[in-house]
């Protein structure tokens, strides 16, 4: 009997509506009760309800059309749902953070690279100190030698070079030679630098070898009437860099250790031994005007030939490639950079 009584509670009518009553129990619970005929009761009447009605009263709130916040509150009342929600939220936040960070780093590095704030990354190996064979002092001690002959390597197809001849150079500095016709054999699509015979002064021949092949940006030989004057004018420009390199290692990319222009070189040997230079302007907002000379030398460090490459308004991002067919006696070279860097307007 007593147990039965425990299952019931007294409640008092606070409001009477058409289809339901609003009750308040003695322990302070407010509930909506729709099981009775509401018209039979008046405010203040006492009624007895089952305790289970109190627990199930949550359903009544559905009919009250609670607002959104209330619904959310109801959904997350259960701890299980709360924890699941927290976990999912944490994972979502973590993933979002990682994605944002990744994109930020990627685009940030790209941007900094473009603007030049980051040091450029060389793709080739930097030339080691071993390749720098001789210092400037050894250059001064070099004695002039007569180079009586020099042949230009022929094409791999074996066709005769146009205008390829043995050249003799007189030692007499006063004598000036006349330039032979410049010819190109482009049967293979490759440009071959042909010799241009002329007479250099003894002093210049010591420095530059038997001949200077002047190349402009198109890779074509530039006909210079008076090479000695050319050299004189060139040497009026400041020397920006000078370095010695040997050609012992084949099929390997090397980079000249000059910071303002990326100069890569490679020696290949197929039928002919080729020296390939690749120049890339890496100084932003500046133009290079000048000459980059590759002075080839033999095993005794005697200069054989010089390839003088003219650069005009060589600006950031520009590239240039020059291929030199080496002679058998040529074992090393020196890079000399003459010129100026001008501000880009």
């Amino acid at each position: 009997m007593e147990e039965n009584l425990k299952n019931y509670k007294k409640a008092y009518i606070l409001e009477v509506h058409r289809n339901f009553l609003i009750l308040m129990t003695s322990d302070g619970a407010f509930l909506r009760y729709s099981k009775l005929n509401s018209s039979m009761y008046e405010i203040g009447d006492e009624i007895i309800i089952e305790s289970s009605e109190l627990e199930n009263n949550g359903l009544c709130s559905y009919f009250n059309k609670p607002d959104k916040n209330f619904v959310l509150e109801e959904s997350f009342k259960s701890l299980k749902y709360k924890n699941k929600f927290r976990l999912l939220r944490g994972i979502a936040v973590g993933v979002a953070a990682v994605v944002i960070l990744t994109f930020g780093i990627y685009f940030g590095i790209n941007y900094l690279n473009k603007t030049g704030y980051l040091p450029s990354f060389n793709l080739s190996f930097i030339a080691s100190a071993k390749d720098k064979a001789v210092s400037e002092q050894s250059l001064a001690s070099m004695s002039a030698e007569n180079i009586t002959s020099g042949t230009v390597a022929s094409q791999s197809t074996g066709t005769e070079m146009l205008g390829a001849e043995n050249i003799s150079i007189k030692e007499d500095a006063n004598e000036t030679g006349s330039a032979d016709k410049i010819a190109e054999d482009t049967s293979n699509g490759e440009k071959i630098q042909l010799k241009e015979s002329f007479n250099l002064s003894p002093v210049n021949s010591k420095i530059f070898g038997k001949e200077i092949i002047v190349l402009d940006e198109s890779g074509e030989n530039v006909i210079v009437q008076n090479q000695n004057d050319y050299i004189e004018n060139m040497q009026k420009q400041p020397v920006l860099y000078e370095g010695f390199y040997n050609m012992n290692t084949l099929n390997t990319d090397f980079v000249v250790d000059y910071p303002d222009i990326q100069i890569g070189y490679k020696i290949n040997e197929d039928i002919n031994k080729l020296l390939t230079f690749n120049f890339i302007a890496i100084k932003q907002k500046q133009l290079f005007n000048g000459n980059i000379n590759a002075v080839l030398n033999d095993e005794n460090l005697t200069n054989t030939r010089t390839f003088s490459m003219i650069f005009k308004n060589f600006k950031y991002g520009q590239q240039r490639t020059e291929i030199i067919i080496l002679e058998n006696i040529e074992k090393g070279f020196k890079i000399i950079i003459y010129g100026y860097f001008n501000e880009l307007n």
Partner: protein, 235 residues
């Protein structure tokens, strides 16, 4: 703002209403739900103000009760109930006199429906004038409670939503309400700001502030119930 210490008894209010028209109107307004529930209970159907004439009759009867009430003769609510029912009886009698008798409208007993209602009301009207005082008090308390909650912009449908279903949480909130009702400082803070003094409550009770905030309306309703000494509320 409600001053809980100036809640008058119903009889005092009625005496004031006799002389003051404004108090009279307020009292009628306050007891409208009660008047409707009395008439509905007697008639046995739901009525609406502005639609059903019975409720208008009830309001007029209630006003009459205010003016004719003599406190020496018993409780006001019992008296008002009696007057309302009597007036309803009069209304139905007038209605049946005006209408022609319809052959189709007879019930099994041979009476028409309206006569049956009159009979029922007649029977009920013989009730004793003196009602059980306990019930009377409770009804008045509930009506007063409703009025005060209205002044705080709290309605019962909000309370049903906010009221915690778990008994433990309800008990926690009740403890907080009891503390506020008993502590003058906390109670004055509540009356002044119409907000719970959560900072102080956090220190006093091991309940998270968000939990307290969530049950704000319910706690205030309990405080009001405790303060007006709602007789059926166990504290």
């Amino acid at each position: 703002m409600v001053n809980f210490f100036q809640i008058n008894s119903l009889e005092q209010l009625v005496l004031k209403a006799k002389e003051d028209k404004l108090v009279n109107e307020k009292l009628i307004e306050q007891f409208k739900p009660f008047i409707a529930s009395v008439i509905q209970k007697r008639i046995g159907k739901y009525l609406e103000y502005g639609v059903d004439d019975e409720l208008s009759i009830g309001l007029i009867a209630f006003n009459e009760a205010i003016h004719n009430y003599d406190y020496k003769k018993g409780k006001f609510l019992s008296f008002a109930r009696l007057v309302i029912i009597n007036r309803l009886i009069d209304y139905y009698r007038k209605e049946t006199k005006l209408k022609t008798v319809s052959l189709n409208g007879y019930n099994k007993n041979g009476d028409n429906e309206e006569n049956a209602v009159i009979e029922l009301l007649d029977k009920k009207a013989v009730e004793k004038f003196l009602y059980r005082s306990e019930d009377e008090e409770r009804k008045f308390e509930i009506i007063e409670y409703t009025r005060i909650l209205k002044e705080w912009n709290i309605n019962f449908s909000d309370l049903i939503k906010i009221c915690p279903k778990q008994e433990n949480l309800r008990n926690d909130y009740k403890k907080i309400a009891e503390k506020i009702a008993s502590d003058d400082y906390l109670f004055n803070e509540l009356c002044k700001t119409k907000r719970l003094p959560i900072k102080q409550l956090e220190k006093l009770f091991p309940i998270h502030r968000k939990k307290i905030e969530r049950g704000r309306i319910y706690i205030i309703a309990l405080v009001i119930a405790i303060k007006i000494k709602l007789s059926f509320l166990q504290v």
